[in-house]
Symmetry: C2
Subunit: 360 residues, 2 copies
């Protein structure tokens, strides 16, 4: 990727590295999603969800859709957190209205041992095509974020076979046969490292690890079965590419209480959901990492004055200084009115300027 | 209730009041539940779930079932957290395999204004009958816990009409029309206070407020829309009856980060789920409250040595001294083998004695 256009708006990358910006950058988790009518149109054209992910052209189309509407400061690869286990042969599909389903859940040590080592440029070549296509189409407008699910999060879906409330199978494995659980998590860590590095080599300019289900663990099990493997991945990532630092964000939903541990694994930034107080988290992590978050996605159901007030609250909670990327604390809900999103984006940019004015 | 038998085992009440005990008492959330074959037999005899709750004889039967099997230190009224909104006319039912469903969800200010004031001895007379029947049948073996859902938790189901992942309607109300949300929560607080006091007058010897969904709020919204109303209830409860203190436990699932705020509302004890470190929570709350918890329910899928080790970990995390009631951090899962529960109960009693030996 020596042909990259220079970045027009690099506020997102600068904020992740705690460098000065003129206003707080933002993007929105699941910003290319069902709340946008143009997304729903492309999605129905593609057929099922995985066909949309597998087509570089369509994945690029939906990645750019929210950028056409809103003044967002980053694009994120349109894909799924579960592409790696799918490439390992578990057979990912999405039942209508349900979550993800694996045709072949992992239920034995033998199945874990047999999991193949994948080459992300082969089995996940469609993702790399999408990254290259999107990066080219962006023409340097904003940076492109690559991502993966965390090993623990991938393992929950692989062992349960889909969504779960109780995590009976994966926790049963963790408590009854921890060595098999560690074997699985280690294999996944290696695969995710290779996958994320391939995304960087294909053009991703920042990386995010989504640990959607780390928050269902007790503190000691979180450190042993989730955080440890995210640390292993961060250690193995390409951190500079094309002469520029590639920042890494780790995000454990429900992990606010473990901020100090998360901040210590060597990532550049951590995501913070809306159940944590951003002031407290910032105090705990000091200057170790930038913070990304932390508006409750449900604020987007409120009228404009309430959105304004809640944006102001989050900005004030982070306070003055560098190192804040504004975001929701979770993916945007499908029933949100896109006009509220426009209001949100403009409010963040407008209201954040005073927090940066005195800093250079 | 002047006819009450003297309590044979009052360790649970003593622990809640941070008084000395010889071993750590325990009970298990949802201990009368689907993991017990005898419960499933009674349930199928009753027909639907609410018929089981409405029959004092059957509710008593299932309440006592786990006590026949295991050496538990408390009984809990068999009922549902949503009886109050059902009595207000919302029409509660349970679809097979689904969660609770309200036939008439609340979707307007007018509907909130029209909610009737209920007399718990009339509209919820079946609950009081069950409390009296169970208390009589217990003959003082262990104390009987009465309970209700918290106002915020009741409101989520009432406004959503059932279970939800996104809380779009209730949070939409909270952010868009906070005065209507407060009107609803205030009405519910008054109704829950009357309901819990009627349970005490019918024979409940301790009370628990289940705030199942307080943890989906941001810290400031939690204090304003959930904790405030639990404080209002605690202020209005009968705290002594038949010459004995009636302890109150508040439990916000996912509320570990707010332990200091929760401990300050005047309850005797707080529940702690497994995502919190019991040592840290105890340090934060000091001597304000006893703590109840905090084993991950999934530990019961593990073999006995792992259960033993995890019990030891929780006991060590609380440490020496008074004020610990052992429990799971959430209701027991339906697929747990009852023999593992027996092992758990005995392990807690056996392993906890050294933590109390030096204290008198």
């Amino acid at each position: 990727m020596s042909t990259a256009s220079p970045l027009v708006n690099d506020r997102f990358l600068r904020a992740l590295l705690r460098q000065p910006v003129d206003y707080t950058p933002l993007w929105i988790m699941r910003q290319a999603g069902r709340y946008l009518p143009e997304y729903r149109a492309t999605r129905s054209k593609a057929g099922d969800f995985m066909s949309l992910c597998r087509s570089a052209e369509l994945a690029c189309e939906v990645t750019l859709q929210p950028l056409e509407r809103f003044d967002l400061d980053a694009a994120i690869l349109f894909s799924d957190i579960l592409t790696v286990p799918d490439a390992m042969g578990l057979g990912l599909s999405f039942a209508a209205g349900e979550g993800p389903v694996f045709a072949h859940p992992l239920r034995s040590r033998a199945a874990i041992e047999k999991l193949p080592i994948i080459d992300p440029n082969l089995e996940l070549g469609y993702v790399m095509n999408a990254v290259r296509t999107i990066r080219h189409a962006l023409q340097g407008r904003v940076p492109l974020i690559g991502f993966s699910g965390s090993p623990w999060t991938l393992a929950t879906y692989m062992v349960e076979g889909g969504s779960t409330k109780e995590f009976a199978h994966i926790k049963g494995l963790m408590y009854s046969d921890p060595s098999s659980a560690h074997l699985l998590l280690d294999k996944l860590s290696r695969a995710v490292t290779d996958y994320l590095n391939a995304q960087v080599q294909s053009g991703a300019q920042a990386l995010m690890i989504f640990d959607t289900w780390g928050g269902v663990l007790s503190p000691d099990k979180y450190r042993e079965f989730s955080l440890r493997y995210m640390a292993q991945i961060v250690d193995g990532l390409i951190r500079e590419h094309d002469g520029r630092r590639v920042p890494v964000i780790v995000f454990t939903k429900g992990g606010g209480a473990w901020a100090q541990d998360i901040a210590a694994i060597g990532a550049d930034a951590m995501g913070v959901d809306w159940t944590s107080d951003l002031t407290a988290v910032r105090q705990q992590v000091g200057h170790l990492v930038a913070l990304q978050g932390n508006l409750d996605p449900s604020v987007l159901y409120a009228p404009e004055p309430v959105i304004e007030q809640e944006v102001a609250r989050v900005l004030a909670a982070f306070g003055h200084g560098n190192g804040h990327v504004f975001n929701l604390g979770h993916g945007i809900h499908q029933h949100v009115d896109p006009d509220r999103v426009r209001y949100l984006v403009d409010a963040v940019h407008r209201l954040s300027r005073p927090y940066h004015a005195a800093h250079s």
